[in-house]
């Protein structure tokens, strides 16, 4: 288990020395996953509310489809987005292949089902009186949406955390769509894949620790927010 200690030492060194490659990867990771998680929540939470709150024909089918989408392998999402953004693909003219926004498209697709499924369940399992209370107090559709999401805010937060975890730790999409290009689209995870592929396990572990450190920091900030949001 020397690799672990080596990895820890290397991680500290990379961070302390301000290793440019590492910081570039950190920055790209944050940019790509930040954009994606924002899009995931903005799209996934309202959609999740819709399928958790309303009883429309085909709702069960949609729920099952969303749950199934949780099993979408990242390589396949990566492949599909690659084909979409590829120069000859339908969106090739946007020139998004091998760019951070391009990666974010794929990562957003990865995260949306998670946010949708968890929001839908939280809304569906919320106290039945919540809906009646909001309606009888005069809330309109949009107000019911926001008030319900606020009542289930801890579930929404976990949905965000889970989707973020999935996005920030995946490698297939970033690799396929981003191309793992140094200084441009190399994220921490694609760097890890590269280093472990080369057999440089200590560096791989070090980068993994860097990623966890970032995740820890973000979770600490969220815990602060959570505390503010009351019980």
């Amino acid at each position: 288990m020397d690799y672990l200690l080596d990895g820890l030492a290397t991680a500290l060194r990379l961070l302390a020395m301000g290793d440019a490659e590492t910081f570039s990867a950190v920055w790209i990771t944050l940019a790509a996953s930040g954009m994606s998680i924002a899009a995931c929540l903005a799209i996934g939470a309202p959609l999740g509310f819709l399928i958790g709150y309303h009883d429309f024909p085909g709702r069960r089918a949609v729920r099952i489809a969303v749950d199934t989408a949780l099993c979408f392998p990242t390589v396949v999402i990566g492949l599909l987005v690659y084909l979409l953004l590829s120069r000859q693909g339908p969106l090739g003219d946007l020139g998004l292949l091998f760019t951070i926004p391009g990666m974010s498209v794929g990562l957003t697709l990865l995260g949306i089902p998670i946010v949708m499924a968890m929001t839908a369940l939280a809304v569906e399992q919320a106290d039945a009186r919540l809906r009646l209370t909001l309606l009888t107090l005069g809330a309109d559709g949009r107000q019911v949406l926001f008030a319900t999401l606020w009542e289930t805010r801890y579930h929404l937060m976990l949905a965000g955390v889970a989707a973020f975890g999935r996005i920030v730790s995946e490698v297939g999409i970033s690799m396929m769509v981003g191309g793992n290009i140094k200084w441009h689209t190399r994220t921490i995870t694609t760097a890890i894949a590269l280093e472990t592929g080369k057999g440089d396990y200590a560096l791989g572990i070090a980068l993994g620790l860097v990623l966890l450190a970032i995740a820890l920091l973000l979770n600490l900030m969220l815990a602060g927010l959570r505390r503010r949001a009351g019980r």
Partner: protein
Amino acid sequence: ADKVLMMATTTSTADTGLLDDLAPAFQKETGIELKFTATGTGKALEMGRSCNVDVLLVHDPEAEAKFVGDGFGINRVQLMYNDFVMVGPKADPAGVKGKTVAEAMKTLSGGKAPFISRGDKSGTHALELRLWKDTGVGVPEGKEWYVEAGQGMMRTIAMCAEKGGYTLTDRGTWIKYEAGLKESGPLAIVVEKDQKLFNQYSSITVNPAKCPSAKADLADAFTKWMASPSTQKRIADFKLMEKPLFTPNAGK
């Protein structure tokens, strides 16, 4: 940089660090930024076919010939080579040490020890398959001792060590593997310096007639730069753990 050249290449050129050494020099001398994505040769060729890159640096002569023959690529230039070695347990249970690669593979087909195949259609895998055919044994697919890994070279060597088997590897990855273990690993080179183990790298420009967006001018500049004497010397001087990895052979 406003002039950006997009290249797809094989993992070996990137993993050894050669391109990390060359790219900054290339930018400094020509003002062109080289962006490269490292994948298997198969996928690199596909990226060329789908016009997502401008130039390729690959090592599978047969597939390359087909790529150019189909009109997807032009201006294939051979730039350098390195060689393959066969590695196996230090104790050499199958007894192949010092043999030619053909004899060694015939012996291995007796099944005394596992043989780990890349199994991933990479350049290395293509060579291995060719060797099985040349020796007359045929590809031992499905045999108990024939392990089809489907992984990168480094992981295949690691698996070879775990399973106490034999495998074919490019010398660069082997040097890195050995260096990583500080020379205390269970494996050693058993067969090397056989001319059948020759590994040619070439660059190919993506055909602008098929891909209007491809920057053939920059690609040609890259090829020319790679083939230039100063770069060729730079390649010859590139060392990993004090051992040279690539032999330049542009124009030969």
